[in-house]
Symmetry: C2
Subunit: 411 residues, 2 copies
Amino acid sequence: MTTSRRTFLRHGLGLAAAATPALFGGTPPSPAPASTATLPDGRPAVGLSKHDLPTPALVLDLDVFERNLAKMAAHAKAAGIALRPHAKTHKCVEVARRQIAAGALGVCVATIREAEALAAGGIRGLLITSEMVGPDKIRRLLRVTAQAPDTMSVVDDAGHAEQLSAAARSAGLTLNLLLDLDPGSRRTGIAPGEPAKALARTVARLPHLRLRGIHCYSGSSAHVVGFEARRVHSEKAMAPAIATWHDLRRDGLPLEILSGGSTGTYNIDPAFGAMTELQVGSYVFMDVDYRRIGGSRGPLYDDFGAALRVIATVISKTERQRATVDAGFKAFATDRKFGPELLEPTGAVFSWGGDEHGILDLKEASREVARGDRLEFIVPHCDPNVNLHDRLYCLRGEHVEAVWPVARGYG
Amino acid sequence: MTTSRRTFLRHGLGLAAAATPALFGGTPPSPAPASTATLPDGRPAVGLSKHDLPTPALVLDLDVFERNLAKMAAHAKAAGIALRPHAKTHKCVEVARRQIAAGALGVCVATIREAEALAAGGIRGLLITSEMVGPDKIRRLLRVTAQAPDTMSVVDDAGHAEQLSAAARSAGLTLNLLLDLDPGSRRTGIAPGEPAKALARTVARLPHLRLRGIHCYSGSSAHVVGFEARRVHSEKAMAPAIATWHDLRRDGLPLEILSGGSTGTYNIDPAFGAMTELQVGSYVFMDVDYRRIGGSRGPLYDDFGAALRVIATVISKTERQRATVDAGFKAFATDRKFGPELLEPTGAVFSWGGDEHGILDLKEASREVARGDRLEFIVPHCDPNVNLHDRLYCLRGEHVEAVWPVARGYG
């Protein structure tokens, strides 16, 4: 670690990148734009120690991240299933490039904005996992498809399919579609069985649409606590979609793709036999949420390492057993019941202190904490947490090796 | 409304702005940069109907916003107290300009990033309400102070004051400071009474520091439900700081400013007599959170109108009494126990559906909802909600009059 850091510091980003060729593949990573590679005071970020970054800072431990990438890639290869990782987790061209270089078919995205950002960055094999409804989204879907013709999106309604067909005809394009099937979450998706089969026939019949397969994401399975309970939940959730998949193929519909699964079920869903690809997302970064679901060997899910952190600074310390850091609702995701977890000292308990403040109860902490101390936290929920920051400061050991922009926000 | 909208559409932004001269004052609003004034498909946003905006869209009803601005300005004038509204709510140069044009002394900010963005936009009278701890923040505080010499920040620790003094001396600048006093929230701030007085004497003695007054923000008072309970809470929270203020002035310390208060206590705190300015924030936008605290006349706090909304699109409608919209954890603030409130139809109940989905239970809804419908929501908590979006689409009636960038994120 020390040697590779020195090597990097001596030779700069190009050589450090060349030291891990497998992850960079044929597409060399582009330098981050000046706006994200430069600190607010004008200094370049690359080469800085993490101890000098402005806080709160979203940082990525590249060693842990690369181990996560390699482990999932090896798992998928051994299990005979493809990967199309979900890029809503990272919204980052550089992460997507590395996922594809490690063998992924492409990436999933949740929004048209994410699709636009990744397509512009050269990423192909995009699957937009939300229905593109309304004139604005359909227009933008056509633009992305013109740029990246293999882009896919999803449909759960015949009227929507007709609108997409008409729009594709006007644009002289073909839109690739997956049927969105509801695994019981009642969020989006048509019911498996007869309703899904009728929709499949409609989509297959409509001009300028190409029916590629089925999308069925059981978000409620992903975070079931306990490996065996999770296995049972996912099997039950996916069974109707899998039966529909077999029926439709038996009927001669040209379905090639059955996409679903999550970081919680990556080692569960391949055993179902039918699924062709996993849309795992959080495994690259990890978070408190996933660590709590329990692994196949015990109560801590540690199949993947916590590569994503927020560094915060203690800005107030007026009591011995209490400290306030400069990270609150706007630096950490707040959609879970729990907050971030402090890496060190252990035993400190975080509570929310407002938009820009977090409070640490230090009564059980393993050491004293002083004003000015910089502390690292595992984030509560990685997807919305990344969305709060403009850039990922990528660390090799303690030093910044790269800065990757995050395409957050809406159009 | 219809006439002024037509006038705007005919004559463009310049004349529409001139129609409300009191709010624009001497500083004409600058046009939004191309990146935020242009839709993702390249069309200009100004002049568009709100029904054509990409969703989820953060929109500001300018008529309601201007009424909120005017009402708070008139209240402060009548109550004989100054305003330094908190810009962490909006992170927006254009909003700050209008607050100052309506009479505010300047604006508060929570982060150095907000201070930098507003100072670069020509805003003066900045008060940074968090301690600027660590070399990066101190360096940036000095840069902002060089640009905007009346910038103030806060201190709750003698060692920190010494660091600020040394840094200011090195830079050849004077830093303006307020003592940060703890109103009992135990978040930041030194205890009122003897600890505060000792710190005041230290700050007053240190070279290159100018002690301007006291900062005491009782966040826990702001959302106490019920006007009288809120009055009692705020009076109790502020009393020790007010006593310290009187003591220090009696001792001859040159305190000019006693800053605190919130949208919840704007009509409570002036009666305490000592406070010189209110740092009200949410009143410009409003949210579900504040509407729930109860007003002086009844259970709904409606002193200010809900000017801020998110427009979302129904993207899935596979059940008659349930609909899914394209707005979830990344479009709405999630730091409160409750979600957004749908304006219309009434009776619909929102629940979270993940990063990009919200679920509407329509069993009690006042009308049917169809796929493709566009629905407007009052946001749960305005400050972190604005932070999720890059721009405010400003509506005059149903049409976009301007697009204002939001300086969200961190350095």
